[in-house]
Point group: C2
Chain length 586, copies 2
């Protein structure tokens, strides 16, 4: 009799295990699992069927939800783990990673919008805190301007309005009444803020005026949207400052750019190239734009990281922002202005670069959970007392880590196998897994597995407080080095036009001698765009049809432009002025 | 000759002083000042005239700006200091305080919107940090949902859509194209978020789900707007949670309400009454609403402080948010939901309560600058060396304060009298002024003046690190006690209907026995609204025409409703159920 009960228990446990492990994957699977159980007792059989029924209900609910219309007609798949590899289908891989790691939810009500879930907001808040501390030290104050813009303000700067008008969202009605004058949701706040700069800046003693705000802006993109990288609404910070001289403005532009590079390099473990945008790519209405540019190895595309603009005096002339020259009484001068912004795009770049076929890979400095501690080796023959003692020891390991400043969690969920838990935390990108079983306990160690490399090893419990923080810093640094190596190897200097498209096809960005002329840049884009109608060529893969555009003029030139060297565009006769980084890009 | 030069210097200094002190007040005044100077030399006379001209130019510019159309047709006055007293003209006093202390700027482009300047954002960020720490400890995660809403989602809950539809801002166009389906800017996010709660909550193990977001919402009010208190866009946090049972939801509602009371009482030094809203005043679509209610002594009005709602199962039924009952397999139950929000309104309430005829009065805990250190007693006979030594000593005082955790600034601006500086910092509400002159130095003390009471005294330099933090806490506590005394004295229990309106006219809120019936509440409002057409009565002041509405049913009842006690409304025959706080209100 005791044996029968034991068998029944095991059967139930087996079904429960399988049901739990498929979670919402497939009710059918759970049903089969239940059918396979040769019930040693009626009650166990009944219980198993009940479990299976429950799983089937869940699966039906999941299927219903998955069938709901998603952005771009895509369907969401709720199976744990990814269904494609990063190499085989990068776009789908990315979409699955951000969804299944619970960073993003598609906002199915309105296409092109996304929900930022807690896993995302944690990272954004780390960045926000890091950046705020540094700009506060520079003397930048926080402000908050309204989200709406009158067309009158927007139209003051001609290039600016032309740049943003096609993407403006217009509010034309309030309640059931038409507004007398429609208002636009800000796509950026130059035109919202600068009328007040004109009012507040009355003397050179009011300079520099440095304000920053954290908000969301709306750009109703016609292009296909992608979570983080291109959304119709995104979170960002926008800094707007005014200075007495071009020199002072220019210094700040670079100081901010270096902070943006710091967000990528120090927090997100993403290497970037610092440089200036060409005329074609600079901010609409600005004087010059500096940028940090990233690189996505999986498709060889460049991606703009964040931009710090000197607006020159364009806006101060249009918005009448002047002070009396402290060096010459009676002479009024227009102030020099900057604007600079960093958006949630940074998170998408980080995901694309570090993620792998198991899911997200988070750099430790921005990971909410840096370490997960999972009990292993607990079997049904473990006594409740031994299990409790083991879990107590595990709690003490977690406490040691927390005391050492490590963001550690445990996973004591019942009814899930260690293997299932491993997959779950890998999907979510936790940098370091610590496994702790009775054998580890006997040896006074923990076992660990690095998320980035899969490397395994043990650490003496006595050394946890020093070794784990060290290991996390090693992971952070290794992630950066790996990405840097890849960017370095795929940023190719080319002095031969014929090699350009093959280099792009081999997932490189290129640095070429360039005349810096806007029309020539248009031509280069045209020449590198595959025209399938005119030159049908089955050997050219579809993705390669995209032309290249300039990414930046790197501050650090790969080499000097030679005396008399021509622009690389074969149809251009002008002299090259700089090596410019071009690429297919986001 | 030496004497002539000395006189000329003095004359220039005198003019400069006067010019600086009128700043942008009036160019005429500066001109007169210049004219009064009996020039001992041509060059001094010329210089004086130049200064006067400069001042006149500034005045002209200021006048131009002041003449720009402001919200509600109001004009902005740039004179330093307030032009009306709090007692004489409270609305204008308030408007001047928030403008001149540089908390707010009217957004003249679109009426009903305001710019939050750094003085405001500092306070909001203190509140944000305080509140975030506490809700994180409760297990609330941060999220960010899109700002737009489809009408389909909004219409799911009937009362909810009816409550918000009249104030929705509708986006109907993107670029130059009409949207196929217009979208509304969120007035609150229940209908934005809950479709995802339905997706994410699949089992009771997913409960509680607790998310919070910091954002801005738009309610296109038809009523007159007031900075902080009623704006068409405002900053807030909105928490949205789901629970298994009514009891668990109800516990959280009160836990959050207590945090809201903490923001008022502990940070802003503002007393509030905790209670429940009546049916008429509860959240549209909710089950019940709890609230903290404040009181503005200057006009005797009540003001809603912040609300924490239990939504019951209304939304979970409409949005299909269910879990299987853990106590009964196969039975599905709708989750219990809460939503709760606290907005920048809190800052307006604080300004109205503590401010005085000199301007803003900030409680030390939320003041960016808690102490300003100003040098005094420096005259033209002070040698440059003595001045430098004095300022060095002053810097060391500031450093001592900073080291003690006090947010201290100095004011070493040249060309402004100490008196002008005192007024400037008083206007901005800095809680404590420290004056430091040669006499103080000789006695090894500093002189201080409290912003709230004007009380003056000295503190030995050796005791600064302990005495100043103590004094700041005393100021914080005294501000609270003063406001609490006022609220206690003007919250009157009334059991006689005839006494109600006179009590309101005497700037009280009242607590009356009430039947809790919505129709009776409407009637009470009607009965207490002065109908000038029917009862012309010159003795009733204009402001008194406003009827009273219910503010809350205080948790702490002033006394028990007596057996058989009738509702106070003379036209109501029902029994009273509770003492309810009524008042004229914002």
């Amino acid at each position: 009799m005791a044996e029968t009960i034991e068998k029944a228990k095991d059967a139930v446990a087996a079904v429960t295990e399988q049901v739990k492990n498929v979670v919402v994957g497939s009710g059918e699977q759970a049903k089969e699992a239940a059918d396979e159980v040769k019930g040693p007792s009626k009650s166990a059989q009944k219980k198993a069927e009940k479990e299976a029924k429950k799983a089937a209900e869940k699966a039906a609910k999941a299927a219903k939800l998955a069938a709901a219309p998603a952005a771009g007609g895509k369907k969401q798949d709720d199976t744990i783990g990814l269904t494609v590899t990063k190499a085989d289908n990068f776009p789908q891989w990315y979409q699955e990673v951000v969804l299944k790691s619970e960073m993003i939810e598609y906002y199915t009500e309105i296409s092109g919008f996304f929900v930022m879930r807690p896993a995302t907001m944690y990272i954004w808040n780390v960045i926000r805190k890091w950046f705020t501390e540094r700009i506060e030290a520079m003397g930048v104050d926080e402000t908050n301007f309204p989200m709406f813009l009158s067309s009158k303000s927007l139209e003051k700067e001609k290039d600016h309005v032309e740049g943003f008008a096609p993407e403006l969202a217009w509010v034309t009605k309030a309640g059931d009444k038409d507004l007398e004058v429609p208002v636009a949701v800000r796509p950026t706040s130059e035109a919202v803020m600068y009328p007040y700069y004109s009012k507040w800046i009355r003397s050179h003693r009011d300079l520099p005026l440095r304000l920053n705000q954290w908000n969301s802006v709306v750009r109703w993109e016609a292009k296909q949207t992608t979570p983080f990288l291109r959304a119709r609404e995104f979170l960002w910070q926008e800094g707007h400052t005014a200075h007495l001289t071009e020199k002072l403005a220019g210094e700040e532009v670079l100081e901010i750019l270096e902070l943006y590079a710091g967000v990528y390099e120090q927090l997100l473990a993403v290497p970037v190239v610092r440089g200036t945008k060409t005329e074609n790519e600079k901010f609409a209405g600005g004087y010059y734009t500096t940028t940090v540019e990233g690189y996505i190895p999986s498709n060889g595309r460049g991606i703009q990281g964040a931009t710090s603009h000197c607006l020159g005096q364009n806006f101060s002339k249009m918005f009448d922002i002047t002070v009396e020259d402290p060096a010459e009484k009676g002479k009024h001068i227009n102030v020099w202005q900057n604007s600079w912004g960093l958006s949630t795009r940074v998170i998408g770049v980080m995901v694309m670069i570090h993620g792998d076929d198991k899911g997200l890979v988070l750099p430790p400095r921005i990971a909410k959970n840096q370490v997960v501690v999972i009990p292993v080796g607990i079997t049904k023959s473990t006594t409740p007392e031994a299990k409790a003692a083991h879990e107590e020891q595990l709690q003490s390991i977690k406490a040691t880590l927390k005391k050492a400043g490590v963001r550690a969690v445990d996973d004591l969920r019942e009814g899930y196998t260690p293997g299932w838990k491993f997959s779950d935390w890998e999907l979510k990108g936790v940098p370091l897994r610590i496994e702790f079983g009775p054998k580890d306990a006997a040896n006074e160690v923990v076992s660990f597995a690095r998320r980035d490399t899969g490397e395994k090893g043990t650490i003496p419990i006595a050394d946890l407080a020093t070794k784990v923080p060290e290991l996390l810093e090693t992971i952070q640094s290794d992630l950066y080095k790996k990405a840097e190596k890849s960017f370095d190897e795929h940023r190719i200097v080319i002095d031969d036009w014929e090699k350009v498209v093959p280099a792009l096809d081999a997932k490189n960005v290129v640095q070429i001698p360039f005349c810096l002329e806007p029309k020539c840049e248009d031509k280069i884009k045209e020449l590198t765009t595959a025209k399938h109608d005119q030159e049908p060529d089955a050997s050219v893969p579809q993705a390669a049809s995209m032309g290249m555009k300039s990414l930046c003029i790197p501050f650090k030139q790969p080499k000097e432009v030679a005396e008399g060297q021509k622009c690389l565009n074969p149809e251009c006769q002008a002299l090259a002025k700089k090596y410019v980084m071009f690429g297919r890009s986001y």
